[in-house]
């Protein structure tokens, strides 16, 4: 027992080394994989989209742009005020509404509607958009994204969806 000086001692030593290293690796995987899975799990959830009412049709005047607040699509019970989302809602005519994301397409800061200037302006890096969301000045690479809007039973509803992230088009 336990002598390593014969020719089979070498293979015995190799076997024990491999056994120990292999078992340790398996143990690390058993502990690690669930943690990594837990960490990544939000990415594999279905993208939730929920219609949220933001006010009655009559409360928005034609030609005005107003900030509306709604709960995001998947609020967690302990989210508190962080469950809130906002959009800029523009009533274009009797029947049609447009809802713009408040997130600037440059780096996501909240753009502000200036009713007299008829412009959205971003406080971070000076992005400016026209009333239709098209870029007027500054670094934003694309127009303000829009949320889907509909009118149901006299209520304006916005489709609460993920924060729009500006990705780079490659190729």
């Amino acid at each position: 027992m336990g002598t390593d000086d014969r020719s089979d001692g070498f293979s015995r030593r190799r076997f024990l080394e491999r056994l120990s290293i292999g078992l340790s690796g398996i143990a690390a995987a058993i502990i690690g994989i669930p943690v990594v899975g837990f960490l990544l799990s939000p990415l594999f959830e279905k993208v939730p989209e929920v219609w949220r009412p933001v006010g009655s049709v009559d409360s928005f005047r034609v030609g005005t742009t107003t900030a509306v607040i709604f709960k995001n699509a998947s609020p967690l019970p302990w989210a508190g005020v962080t469950a809130n989302s906002a959009a800029w809602l523009r009533r274009e005519s009797e029947q049609s509404f447009v809802a713009f994301s408040i997130n600037c397409t440059h780096l996501g800061c909240p753009v502000r509607w200036l009713p007299d200037a008829n412009l959205f302006m971003c406080p971070c890096h000076g992005g400016v958009y026209y009333e239709d969301g098209e870029v007027a000045a500054g670094p934003p690479p694309r127009p303000l994204p829009r949320y889907s809007v509909r009118v149901r039973n006299g209520q304006v509803e916005i489709l609460a969806s993920p924060i729009p992230l500006t990705t780079t088009k490659w190729l």
């Binding site: 939730p48 989210a79 508190g80 005020v81 909240p110 302006m121 670094p139 500006t166």
Partner: protein
Amino acid sequence: MKPLRNIWQWLDDRTGISKTVIPIMRHPVPPNIGWWYVFGSATLIAFIIQIVTGIALALMYVPSASQAYDSLKFITESAPLGHFLRGMHDFGASAMMLLIGIHALRVFVMAAYKYPREVSWLTGVGLLAFTIVMAFTGQLLRWDQNAVWSIVVAAEQAARLPFIGEWLGRFILAGNTVGGATLSRFFALHVFFVPALIYAFVGFHLYLVIRNGISEPPKAGRPVNPKTYRAWYESLLKRYGRPFWPYAAWRDIVFGVSVILIIVILAIIVGPPELGKPPDPSIVEAYPRPDWYFLWIFALFALIPAGLESYFIIFGPILVGVILILLPFIANRGERSPLRRPWAIGIVLIIVLMVGTLWIEGKRVPWSPDFNAKPLPIQVIGATSGPIYRGAQLFHVKGCEFCHAIGDYGGHRGPALTDVGDRLTPDEMTWRILNGGTNMPAFGGNLTPEELNSLVAFLQSRKAL
């Protein structure tokens, strides 16, 4: 005292503490080590302050999206010593960032990363990266409006990466929006994960100092030759080496204690950063700004040409990381003295100038519209009625003043119009206002002909005296 001495002797015999620690404390260091060598230990001292004050704050901080803000408000306003401890943690963070930056520049200028201390440099690069992550995540734990928008900005930056961008952005948000899951992630990162990495890297970094010795102060004309360096260093220590304790340690301690005192004084006098508005993503009145150590990056993103932005966001950090990692392999021999390495001095000067300039610009934010621009007073307008007066009102109301200065009033996004009447004819002004220009919106759809005439009349009246 005898029983105490007996207990110590028993403990020392069973554990070998003095046999391990005393040789380390008294390991020989090269002669003439001056004050330039104190910044590494001072960074460690700042980190220890962060651990102690961080644990103290964690006794009361609630890492929940709905309660973190209120618990921090309570710590700051009501809890005994809470105001002071938050101040310590904040200035400790600033000190750590500042000191690790100076330490890294010192090591670079004196080329202490050369043979055989390449791995000291690499672990140091790791520690620099972890410190930056700690600074960023710590700012987020304040969990006010600024924190929420900082996370969104971080996610947007990550989203610019090719292929995995969208995925990485959602990963940073811990979901599709900022919400309940977001804060807990950053809390775990800030108090468990990254500190654990820092402990491990600091341990390794210090072990390497003992193994390879402190780099001797560089001298022009004495290049590092990997073939002979170790033997030469040994003989240097044999002939001139002095024990670290206390001949070098005293400077570390004098400087380290000064750092602690300065942090304490600032924490008492200045106190912690004010909490912003609550972390409600639906409050659109926001001025997201990073803490001072990231202000220059904030400025960079405003000033680089829009077309190159994605490349900067993606390749900038990668390039910096690759250069830092390759440095000790590209230049692991040769002259160490800054006097013989003009390129190194030039690079440091460029970095300091660039970051300094960007930092000042980040403070001024000339690219941001000034939403708080006050209406022009009568003495600036020079009229109390008529087209010039009405034009001045429109200049404010229509948002012109957010971007254009008149005298001391207004923003700096666009050119100042203090004496625009000398530069442009009425026709040129009309054309520019209606059609916009580089970085100026077109106001054609937003002004009546009468309003336009008043505005032009006002601008024509802006002449140098």
